[in-house]
């Protein structure tokens, strides 16, 4: 379930990424949009990897268990 939500989020995020990159390349005049496009691409890759890594570190079964326990105590 969590993986499905992440995949859905990343697909939407990557589509938005593509549209922003496309605008920089397609409509940019001068060097600034190219520099920004490069920085954007690089940063997006890093953030993408960080999101995947942090997702892999989460023990979702434990989280679901903890969440249910946490709210039961309250």
């Amino acid at each position: 379930m969590a993986a499905l939500i992440l995949v859905l989020f990343l697909v939407i995020w990557l589509i938005a990424d593509f549209f922003i990159f496309y605008h920089f390349i397609r409509f940019g005049v001068g060097v600034l949009p190219k520099i920004l496009a490069f920085a954007f691409l690089l940063g997006s890759f890093v953030i993408f990897m960080v999101v995947i890594y942090t997702f892999s570190q989460v023990n979702w079964e434990e989280i679901f268990e903890n969440v249910s326990n946490f709210f039961q105590i309250k």
Partner: protein, 183 residues
């Protein structure tokens, strides 16, 4: 390969034959750095909040989840930052030897473009309003064509007086050069 990051002939979509770009102007750099500042401010603020609660039971139980959510938050902010930077960098005023072109990007797939032939320019006026604009020397430029209405309105451009002078200088140079007279 990396030359595209340093050098450009400033060509753009719809450039005419024998048309050369002379100036490409963007809004004041303040509007470039402001979203960057807010991006880092929000990133650090949320990071500080997470650190502040790092010793609580809740954080210890859900630390991996919190860091994952923080990464997701950063990724959304990253998009928001670059949508702003895209709007900044793609909203330009282009002065060529034939035309004055205003491209105003308002968002994704949302932009407006106005072209004005140099010989149609009748008057250029500038407006500097507010303390910040006076200190940082940015203002609005209004270009008038024949008739009373303001044809072009460029908001928050740096050094508007110099831009005004440049527009007239280039207009006079190229109108005289091409033998065209004002109508």
């Amino acid at each position: 390969m990396f030359q595209i990051f340093f050098k450009s002939n400033n060509s753009f979509e719809g450039i005419l034959q024998e048309e050369k770009t002379i100036l490409v102007l963007r809004k004041h750099p303040l509007f470039f750095y402001l979203p960057i500042f807010f991006f880092f401010f929000l990133i650090l603020l949320v990071f500080a909040i997470i650190q502040f609660f790092s010793s609580s039971d809740f954080f210890i139980k859900f630390s991996s989840l919190i860091w994952f959510l923080y990464a997701v938050f950063c990724s959304i902010l990253w998009l928001a930052l670059f949508i702003n930077l895209m709007i900044y960098s793609l909203s330009v005023l282009i002065l060529t030897n034939k035309r004055l072109i205003q491209i105003e990007t308002k968002g994704l797939f949302n932009y407006e473009r106005n072209d004005l032939e140099l010989f149609r320019i009748q008057d250029v006026s500038i407006e500097i309003r507010g303390i910040l604009a006076s200190f940082l020397n940015f203002g609005d430029i209004l270009v008038q064509t024949a008739g009373t209405e303001v044809k072009f309105y460029f908001s928050s451009f740096p050094n508007p007086l110099k831009i005004k002078e440049d527009i007239f200088k280039i207009k006079n140079k190229f109108i005289n050069y091409s033998g065209l007279n004002e109508r």
